[in-house]
Symmetry: C2
Subunit: 383 residues, 2 copies
């Protein structure tokens, strides 16, 4: 079978940020178990941990969070640009445009990329992503210019507040918090690796994040929770779900949201996010979404020995938080910007360009043919 | 000594597009020698060759060129956005913003990435890059809204026409043409590799190019011709240049524009671009630039056995074409978009995600510490 992953198992650099599945079912950020972190921390705390390598004290966390709140303001020329982006735009292209635009404003011509400058750019960008995305979303989809003021100090609550314009259950914030933490970091996945390839040339912070967003946009990477929800919403109840999945498996169809290229036993994030999904579905008129998700999870385990990954119940959670499907992957961007930032800083410190070789499979050297002597050919053959 | 390149010599995929330095001093695009191509082709022809894998007939080239001319129009919302970008913006961040903005307009939600669609996106983008960049440049730097109409059919001439507003020597077009061809493609360099990492996730064309631009912006990659000109302009004549370079070499300073990580004998592009630089300097009041460049080239060869690469005389050429230094790397973007497009199409066909591993050098699993019990530490130690 043709391998579907290139550079699989090849070390492309050193990292001190995270380990994924060392024992097949574990995840550590900077040496701390993901279960401990998600139980005790807010997203800002995890962002601090990832970027600076240590857990903050209360004072450090308060200062750090205050800095993030203070930098939420959108530059007026960015606002005018957001109003030019149509409703039909893919939100991931919008996210990339926000980042590259911020690069135009925040960068100077000097090319010094020390950790302090990179951290400052990271904080500015992470503060801006939520209001910029939701300003564009509300303006393009509903024609309203929302106020960006909010009493919500944390990114989790701020996102829900701007999206729902105050109309949300305060309990939802915890779920949002857990989601952001669980999506924050995952070693050398394709988007993080893209950010490191760009950082390796000594490029600026915003250029690296824009590239990472480009990679996360791909259907083989960030879009999985959107696909998971589509599957779950297909079934009105668990009996129909089980029956349909069984026949899909017989036809050897792939079910998005299951298995993982690095975890061999299970995805440790699944158990955590599942609890939040279950809590949200209790007493919820739309609770069959959780039941459907769970019966498919059990079926996949029994029939294929495949475990649900983070995306599976994230889809249930986001749906219960009334988050539009098209904003699922942009939330992933906000969360992963924490991890990307840590990797960009690390790559700059490493000071190495990432430049592999290619295996040449093309034509041997051949005689040049002048334009008068060339033959036309079937376009379908040479494209 | 610590290696300065990661993944050096490691095959990250197959390619049929280009070979670099197989014999230490040679470059082939799709099997054709770079010398033959530069002598006989225009940039559009090389773009066709790289992207489609064959040299076009006259009719094919005419059709292809016509398509590029027809697609030069800038969407009105892009124009409004360009007017929001300040003069102080780095032109490479501007280029990235142009690309991500075009991604917002041109992409649909479907995720089919066949060669035909990718080629169409490539042609649209390559047609837009020149007018968008120069519209921004003229508006932000001179406050004028230029007309984008031009009788110049080729990208080379169109660039010079929009930049100089008709006031340029028609002989300059050939030099511009050669530059675009020589910069068009170079195997798995860092920016091309970034575009392939992004393409590997099945992301859209614009997302891939935006990431590639991010990588090319880095001072270890695309910015070398700008640095080369700074060195050359430091000296009023060749005697002073030689003297100064000798003492720089004694102090073991690095001279940008010399040596190459892949070519071991010489850069075959240097000889070609040098001819254009020489021709432009003949009878030019600013001809000492060429003389200075040449004496430094000779000195580097004699003293360090290091050869000039493409960037060295490109700097002389661009300077003689009255191109502002800050537009040097954006020209590289326009040229390399041809090569990037070919690689993105190839990576999509290959249908592999690029996901290496990391060598973990961080802390071992450790006990979580609650926020009340954490100790503050010197920020300089953990950043």
């Amino acid at each position: 079978m043709k391998k579907s992953v290139a550079l699989s198992g090849v070390h492309a650099g050193n990292t001190a940020i995270c380990t994924v599945g060392e024992k097949g079912n574990d995840l550590f950020y900077r040496g701390y178990k993901i279960e401990d972190i998600t139980n005790s921390c807010c997203f800002e705390e995890v962002y601090f941990l990832l970027m600076k390598g240590k857990l903050p004290t209360e004072e450090e966390l308060n200062n750090f969070s205050d800095q993030l709140v203070e930098q939420r303001n959108l530059p007026s020329n960015l606002v005018r640009t957001l109003e030019q982006l149509p409703k039909s735009a893919h939100p991931m292209n919008v996210m990339q445009t926000i980042v590259s635009f911020m690069g135009c404003i925040e960068n100077k011509f000097e090319i010094i990329n020390n950790a302090e400058k990179l951290q400052n750019h990271s904080k500015r960008l992470l503060s801006v992503l939520t209001p910029a995305l939701l300003y564009w979303y509300q303006f393009s989809h509903k024609g309203i210019r929302i106020s960006l003021k909010s009493s919500e100090k944390r990114i989790s609550g701020y996102f829900l507040d701007l999206l729902h314009q105050g109309d949300f259950d305060t309990d939802w914030v915890q779920t949002m918090e857990a989601s952001l933490i669980l999506y924050a970091e995952h070693e050398f996945n394709a988007s993080t690796f893209a950010s490191r390839v760009i950082a390796g040339t000594n490029s600026d912070f915003f250029s690296c994040i824009a590239g990472a967003i480009g990679a996360l946009r791909g259907s083989k990477h960030g879009g999985a929770n959107e696909e998971a929800l589509k599957i779950q919403e297909d079934y009105p109840n668990k009996n129909l779900a089980k029956k349909s999945i069984m026949s899909k498996l017989k036809r050897k169809e792939i079910i998005i949201g299951f298995g993982h290229p690095v975890y061999t036993k299970r995805d440790p994030r699944n158990e955590i996010i599942k609890k939040y999904a279950k809590a949200l579905s209790e007493g919820n008129p739309n609770s069959n979404l959780f039941e459907v998700a769970e019966v498919i999870e059990t079926t996949m385990l029994q029939e294929k020995d495949m475990f649900a990954n983070l995306d599976w119940y994230s889809a249930v959670c986001f749906s219960h938080l009334n988050i539009p499907v098209k904003l699922f992957t942009p939330i992933f961007v906000i969360a992963r910007t924490a991890g990307w930032s840590a990797h960009i800083i690390e790559q700059h410190k490493e000071n190495k360009i990432i430049r592999p070789s290619a295996n040449y499979v093309g034509p041997k050297p051949k005689e040049f043919v002048s334009i008068k002597e060339r033959e036309s050919s079937d376009p379908s053959k040479y494209t």
